[in-house]
Subunit: 428 residues, 2 copies
């Protein structure tokens, strides 16, 4: 039987991982697919660096578009990343009748619509399991196993860099900058970590999950995104005393025809399943009317886990599976309005820096009462890192963000309050 | 477009759940499949009991074989269970060119081989996601997402009844029989719970997972199976003091061309991911060369979660996906020898009932030393439930079951030892 020929564009960490996995498991893969999978071309601007894999140098090229147009190639694997030239590669490959596999969450979540439409038109697969959660089968679970279910809520820990940093800060304390530097040294954070630590990468992923789970277009710019850079050692100490863990949580929830979608550092009860997900591990929970809660967890990044997901997609394309691109037929997607963050309700954690004097709690609680905000817990600690101020934490019962913002604005103007209040969500 | 017509055989808890899910989510499903799914026939011997769903009584029949032969039906859903007539239904349906969906782990793990061969021959799908772990996408993950990976080890908590009982005994103490009766009352245990509590159901499931993950035939009779009925309140108290949880763990592991496959009550460190899976929840962990560890968890049983998995399979069949039946091509399966339990190594927990007199530990440790068994922990508790004897627990470092058995046999004959020693595995 004719072999399946693939072309890889982008020979970096994941690209070389894909070559390794295909070479190492070639016998099993051939057996499972019924055909050989052959790497027919690899494109990268850097053809010199040793990737630690044996390949015939004749298949190397610097011309990605030649790979997309090569009539011998059946499947193009785009691993360039970014929202620029990667889009052109995918378009060209689809136009030329190739199935496309990508791990590019930024591109798909910001500009995926046109690419998916093109894939539908060309009746080709555009698969992207590796875009979210590395080897964890999140995308395929939504598209196939849960295709008979109305998913109501997705929430998860979708960024390994943030979770590594948060875990380390929770377990060992220390300073954010130090821990970030350590993560960079270990290869768990990029040289420019902004997209990770400011929550953008997590937002790309939850946008993609929401779009396939709810069959909706998500306008990326409307997603409320908070990163983890505002957290200080004090927050981890308070969380510990309150029997909670701080995690960067992405949420997408469909309710009454509108979509709640956001990324927040969140205090979870230590007993909740996601509180137990530590280090670079990712996890995602699905809630549905019929299924209750399903949780999938595993390594969210890394060369070989991500490559394993890419190879899973290559095998799906090679098998010529009839699974629709987005788990749905050709109909245009619905567009649910995205709920304004001001109207989203949750419990809250407020950390104030207050003067060490009488009447502080009276003044703050007066403002909270004015906005009808009900105190659930209150905790003041004598922490060394604070010198001229005392950290005071108040947990509030469920309320809308708009009320909290108004109250916090007023509290920040009180004379007894120094600096800006840290506001975090609290969820069970 | 023509609708897909399905016939359901077995209108019990899961069968009526399938009808509910198909009715409730019909709009979404039609959109995702591109065609309507129509319930064309339901067969059951009992046509009188109200299942709480609205159906046209004209589609009801007591003749399952008529459903399997009905030329209008595209997909037959077998939910009769058991290894008897269910096999005939599946055979007849495949012979008549229908795709078949089943949740029947007993049948597939004991006699699946012939049925899968028949499905291959007829080029029809025989899907069984609901057979293991309810709505958790375990089977599909092995067949698709991990098709590019060499899975090395699968282990999991695969029986909700046992996990419910073990969780309750760990958290609230009490007597096994009482907790079982409570589980029966709540519908978490069958009237005849033998298959669950003696480990047979778990063994069916791990056999099925091993066969698809490793591409091997598993001779069900060779699986080492221990249930949870030998556990007493003392074991849970000891486990608690040793910072461990007792779980019924199924393991399948491929190593050096042979297969380790077994079901044992096992002490896990409280920090290990499976130790945190409580109640009727199921969880399965996959280890692979490239992917590290992936864990999937969720409700392992129940009408609607199981029905959701069945409907996921119906949708896969309706989409006419090209995924091979067992995640591999037509080749005959390999048959790895199953490792004798005597040769399987692990750490051990031994609970002795000893006389309250001097020299007991000397005598027992003398036997252990004779067999070169190295003590890791030793703990004696003054528990009320024991009257004439004192419970003594010894944890041993890693060793083979054969040595342990010999040593325990000798220790059981010591004068200072009353009754039989309880032997459990300890794993990290």
């Amino acid at each position: 039987m004719k072999s399946i020929k693939i072309g890889i564009i982008g020979f970096g960490v994941v690209g070389s991982g894909v070559v390794k996995v295909l070479q190492k498991n070639s016998a099993e893969i051939e057996k499972r697919v019924g055909r050989k999978i052959e790497i027919a071309a690899i494109a990268d601007l850097d053809l010199k660096t040793d990737r630690g894999v044996k390949i015939d140098r004749k298949i190397l090229t610097t011309d990605g578009f030649a790979v997309c147009r090569n009539p011998k190639i059946d499947v193009v694997v785009e691993l360039v990343g970014g929202t620029g030239i990667a889009a052109k590669f995918i378009e060209t490959a689809l136009e030329n009748g190739k199935h496309v596999i990508t791990a590019n969450k930024a591109l798909l979540s910001e500009k995926g619509e046109k690419l998916f439409q093109l894939a539908e038109k060309k009746k080709k697969l555009l698969l992207f399991e590796a875009a979210v959660g590395g080897a964890i089968p999140i995308i395929r679970t939504i598209k196939t196993s849960l295709a008979g279910e109305q998913i109501e809520k997705i929430y998860g820990i979708l960024n390994g860099t943030c979770n590594y940093i948060l875990t380390k800060l929770a377990n060992e304390g220390g300073d954010f900058a130090e821990v970030l530097a350590d993560a960079q040294k270990r290869g768990f954070a990029e040289a420019d970590p902004t997209l990770d630590i400011e929550g953008g990468d997590t937002a790309h992923k939850i946008a993609l999950l929401a779009s396939i789970a709810f069959g909706t277009q998500v306008d990326f710019k409307q997603i409320h995104i908070e990163g983890i850079t505002k957290l200080s050692a004090a927050d981890f100490e308070f969380a510990r005393r309150l029997q909670r863990k701080i995690k960067l949580i992405a949420v997408a929830k469909k309710e009454n025809g509108s979509l709640e979608i956001r990324v927040n550092p969140t205090l979870l009860s230590v007993d909740s399943p996601l509180a137990k997900i530590d280090g670079v591990t990712n996890a995602v929970a699905f809630h549905g009317k019929n299924l209750g809660e399903i949780i999938l967890s595993g390594p969210g990044a890394g060369s070989l886990p991500t490559a394993t997901a890419v190879v899973g997609d290559i095998i799906e394309a090679a098998r010529g599976s009839g699974i629709a691109n987005r788990g749905m037929a050709e109909d245009s997607l619905e567009k649910f309005p995205i709920k304004k963050i001001e109207n989203v309700e949750s419990e809250y954690y407020l950390r104030f820096g207050v003067k060490d004097e009488a009447g502080v709690i009276r003044d703050i609680s007066k403002v909270l009462a004015k906005f009808d905000l009900n105190i659930r817990d209150i905790l003041q600690l004598d922490l060394k890192e604070f010198q001229r101020e005392v950290p005071l934490v108040i947990l509030l019962h469920k309320n809308s963000e708009s009320k909290i913002r108004k109250a916090v604005g007023e509290i920040n103007r009180l004379k007894c309050v120094c600096g800006k209040t840290v506001v975090l969500r609290v969820e069970e």
